[in-house]
């Protein structure tokens, strides 16, 4: 097959590729005078426009002769103007090799600028003349076209490298089009009207050509070609990344190769070559159709490490393929993006790899299976009853599945969108809760047997799960606000108190489920005891069979359930304890007059009640758990304030309480960490963190550091404030929220700092 084709001279100038028509200028009438004449006496507030025109759109327009908004004003150097892709840059073989290496090197590093550093496509990869040229020419023929400079390094090697990079970009474009990450915010794909190889179906072609170029360069037997060879190998790895989406490959071989190549290139700084002058420029923004303002190029730093990050993050995502339970999948989703925001390609890949084109989770489970497993792994009693299989449950379970899919997708979002995602999710969980309860109640009240009845009434496992998911989302939304620095110090009381309250609600729910599971386990044991007492041989056999059946089918999942619930309870207790500690430290600080839960802002326009209610707005429509009122917060804080008489001993009591809660938290953290390390088959708890062990341990380490920091803060507060109130104290200090190194961003310290009396607005 003839891989190279002839092509004629192609000029970008004067092209009619957009289907543009040349006007016959003689048919135009000059109405300049008429216009300016008619416009002479217009009143200042006049806007003449189409009645259907939305003037808001006008705010996004470009503007002629405005250097910030007119890409035609971009000035290019003479090298940039004169640059031609028809001629091989470089006078000697050595120079040409240097230039080609420089071009490919810049393109590779520009990929990192684009994806890791959130730059735009036109200011990175598309700023290269060769990329623009080759994509333009190839799309006209709908097949890969090649340069004709006469030099094989340009005509073959450079082109193969560029097509490899563009093929990888095509994969990234596919991720963006799937709508799982946000355009502009997470990823820019301003293709400037260029077609990124939509006509190339198969990576094989691209890879074959890259390999032939690698072979060719190797055959040159020159030490200076090493760097370029490795660049091409890196590009091969990039080309194969699409397999993780195309065929849902979980094979990490190419990712490991990518890491290896990137590390090698990172260490070869001395091999750095420059691309030919004029090769990279803002010219494309001036030449091609462009609805965006001009943007300067960034010079790519020596950032090959960026590929390592991308590869490692994708590997972290692919671990979900090994999930042996829904719990493990959910824990991976929870932890993989929690401590550090992952590479955009990995984050976009996660929901697409997890919930596949055919709507099957990991290609293994239907949506219904998925929900079934989530429910069962939370509370095994759901399998014992016929609840899930009842036809009335189908639409409810469908909705549950939809929300779970959204939950999984939310886990991969950027750090700010993650919190916003819960804002929307809360309404969904709440609606589902109501639906689920009424449905389950119907079914359960028709069922016979004591399995459904607990002390407090009919036990509804599915509703309990929904409630648990809802409250967990609420806690996460509240505490994430600290991470994102959304709260001022005065708001810390309300947020931590609310988090404490929600944790308490969560705990009640979990305890109930735990109790039910435990009673089921006990009833199987007591069945075993009954067998011994049974004299009647036939009945004994029956009981034995029953016992056997229950032991074989239910006991293990019940035990696993119980240990998982224990983990949830223990984790919840940490959040509860730390939230309470923060609340108590706040109350001490307020008692000494250095902080208030009321804003110090002027109250001309608003008031404390409105501010609190606005803050709690996302929860305002949720019935259960009941929203705390302004009065409830006030009275809670007042109850905690330390007042005369006996301030010293009351203070001591509060400090002791804080120490106790810290100690409880540390014990719980310790236990959880041990169980994470030991794995789910041994030990007290089931954490489901096998696939995210490192991240989970780090997360609990951070909580440990926070607990320690809170304890230390006790001492600092006492040292600075003393043990008796004085009026001068409140002027001396102020409180700010600060996060110690390596501590959890969800529990900033209420740090006492010296007050600067004159706060000037900078």
């Amino acid at each position: 097959m003839d891989l190279e084709k002839e092509f004629g001279n192609l000029h970008l100038s004067g092209s009619t590729k957009d289907g543009l028509i040349d006007e016959k200028l003689s048919d135009l009438v000059d109405i300049t005078e008429l216009f300016f004449d008619l416009g002479k006496d217009l009143s200042p507030q006049t806007i003449i426009q189409d009645p259907g025109f939305n003037s808001f759109e006008g705010t996004h327009s470009l503007e002629v002769n405005n250097p910030k908004l007119d890409s035609s004003l971009i000035s290019l150097t003479s090298e940039e103007e004169r640059f031609s892709c028809d001629v091989a840059c470089g006078a000697t073989d050595v120079e040409r090799l240097m230039y080609v290496t420089g071009i490919v090197d810049w393109l590779a590093r520009f990929l990192v600028c684009w994806l890791n550093e959130y730059q735009t496509l036109p200011t990175t990869v598309l700023s290269c003349r060769y990329v623009e040229f080759l994509l333009t020419v190839s799309s006209e023929r709908e097949e890969l076209s090649y340069l004709r400079t006469g030099d094989r390094l340009y005509d073959q090697v450079l082109c193969d490298a560029i097509y490899g990079i563009c093929y990888f970009a095509k994969f990234v474009q596919k991720l963006l089009k799937a709508g799982v990450v946000f355009e502009e915010e997470d990823l820019n794909f301003n293709h400037m009207g260029l077609d990124f190889l939509s006509y190339v179906e198969d990576q094989e072609l691209i890879l074959t050509r890259l390999h032939r170029s690698i072979d060719y360069i190797e055959s040159l037997q020159s030490p200076e070609t090493g760097f370029l060879q490795h660049l091409l190998k890196l590009i091969c790895c990039l080309v194969s990344l699409e397999n993780h989406l195309k065929v849902y490959s979980a094979d990490t071989t190419e990712l490991d190769n990518l890491i290896e190549e990137a590390i090698y290139l990172e260490q070869q700084r001395s091999s750095e070559c420059d691309p030919p002058p004029g090769c990279f420029s803002m010219g494309i923004q001036k030449r091609l159709s462009n609805q965006f303002p001009p943007k300067h190029l960034v010079v790519p730093t020596w950032n090959y490490k960026g590929f390592v990050i991308m590869a490692q993050d994708i590997k972290a995502v692919l671990m979900v393929d090994k999930a042996a339970s829904m719990l493990e999948a959910a824990q991976l989703a929870s932890f993989f993006n929690k401590l550090t925001q992952r590479h955009v390609v990995a984050r976009a890949l996660f929901p697409l790899f997890f919930i596949r084109d055919d709507e099957r989770v990991l290609g293994r489970y239907s949506g219904f299976d998925c929900i079934n497993l989530h429910l069962t792994e939370f509370c095994a009693t759901t399998t014992a009853s016929t609840t899930i299989l009842s036809p009335e449950m189908t639409p409810v379970l469908q909705e549950a599945m939809n929300i779970m899919f959204e939950w999984y997708q939310n886990m991969a979002q950027n750090t700010s969108r993650y919190r916003q995602g819960y804002n929307r999710q809360l309404l969904l969980w709440d609606a589902l809760h109501a639906q689920m309860e009424s449905c389950e109640y119907e079914i359960a009240s028709q069922a016979t047997g004591e399995e459904s009845i607990t002390k407090t009434g009919i036990f509804m496992p599915c509703s309990s799960w929904v409630f648990f998911m809802k409250v967990t989302a609420m806690i996460e939304y509240v505490l994430k606000g600290f991470d994102l620095e959304v709260y001022k110090p005065f708001e810390a009381f309300a947020m931590f108190w609310y988090s404490y309250y929600l944790s308490y609600q969560q705990e009640s729910c979990l305890e109930k489920v735990h109790e039910v599971i435990e009673s089921k386990i006990n009833s199987i044991h007591s069945l075993g005891k009954k067998i011994k007492k049974q004299k009647n041989a036939q009945k004994k056999t029956e009981l034995k069979a029953q016992y056997r059946h229950l032991m074989d089918n239910n006991m293990e999942s019940l035990r696993t359930n119980k240990r998982y619930l224990s983990y949830l309870l223990m984790h919840g207790s940490i959040i509860k304890s730390l939230s309470l500690c923060e609340v108590l430290q706040f109350s001490i600080l307020k008692s000494f007059g250095v902080i208030d839960n009321k804003t110090s802002a002027s109250k001309i326009f608003s008031n404390d009640r409105l501010l609190l209610e606005l803050r709690l707005k996302p929860f305002s429509s949720i019935g259960v758990p009941e929203l705390l009122t302004y009065e409830a917060f006030e009275s809670a804080l007042n109850d905690l304030l330390i007042t005369e008489p006996m301030i010293s001993s009351k203070l001591e009591k509060t400090l002791d309480r804080i120490s106790k809660e810290v100690s409880n938290a540390l014990t719980a953290i310790d236990t959880i960490k041990k169980c994470i390390n030991a794995g789910d088959n041994n030990g007290l708890l089931v954490t489901g963190t096998r696939l995210v062990k490192e991240q989970a341990l780090k997360y609990y380490d951070q909580l440990h550091a926070s607990a320690k920091a809170i304890e230390l803060n006790n001492a600092v507060i006492t040292a600075k404030l003393g043990r008796s109130k004085s009026s001068s104290i409140s002027d001396k200090f102020t409180v700010r929220l600060s996060i110690p190194n390596d501590a959890s961003r969800f529990f900033p310290l209420l740090e006492l700092t010296n007050s600067t009396k004159n706060k000037r607005v900078r």
Binding site: G58, E63, V486, R762
Partner: protein, 176 residues
């Protein structure tokens, strides 16, 4: 002495307002951005003048706002631009301008006031938070390479505190 005035209907200071804002911000604004705000909501633009300067008819500071029905349920005032000439800074002029604007929007029936500002803009955050604004959300890379932004809201009425989906139609009966 600093004098504050709303923009009057003849938009007489259109050009100087444009110059004032263009000089201050790195964000590029076309003339139609100014037309959008100033032509539609002239009463929500306030200017500051130095009566004692030689150019006392040239504004040395301004705030440009709008107000609209938000999602069909809530009147929301929006602070679009705020600028004070550099030699006039540190005198509380920005604060006075914002105050006047909010007073007007409040008078006109706004349930809340909203604006976005960069996370790093400590001066703006201090200014608005000292008036009672709180941070409702953080937006990732809102200003492209300039970084994250906070959405700030000042609640003026109860309606600001209820989720839009649960607010009655403006013309219907308020559920609260």
């Amino acid at each position: 002495m600093i004098i504050y005035q709303p923009l009057i209907n003849n938009l007489s200071h259109f050009q100087s307002l444009k110059r004032l804002i263009d000089a201050d911000l790195s964000e590029p604004y076309s003339v139609y951005v100014y037309r959008y705000f100033l032509n539609r909501w002239p009463e929500l633009t306030f200017l500051a003048f130095d009566s004692e300067s030689e150019t006392s008819d040239e504004p040395i500071g301004c705030v440009i706002c709008k107000s609209e029905l938000h999602r069909g349920r809530r009147m929301r005032g929006y602070i679009g631009m705020l600028a004070v000439q550099s030699d006039y800074r540190g005198r509380g002029i920005a604060k006075s301008l914002v105050k006047k604007a909010i007073e007007k929007m409040h008078q006109d029936g706004c349930d809340e006031i909203m604006l976005e500002t960069e996370v790093e803009n400590v001066a703006a955050l201090n200014l608005y938070e000292n008036m009672g604004f709180i941070r409702m959300k953080r937006m990732f890379r809102y200003y492209l390479n300039e970084g994250d932004a906070f959405k700030l809201i000042l609640p003026l009425t109860q309606r600001s505190c209820v989720r839009t989906t649960f607010l009655d139609d403006v013309n219907g009966i308020d559920i609260l």
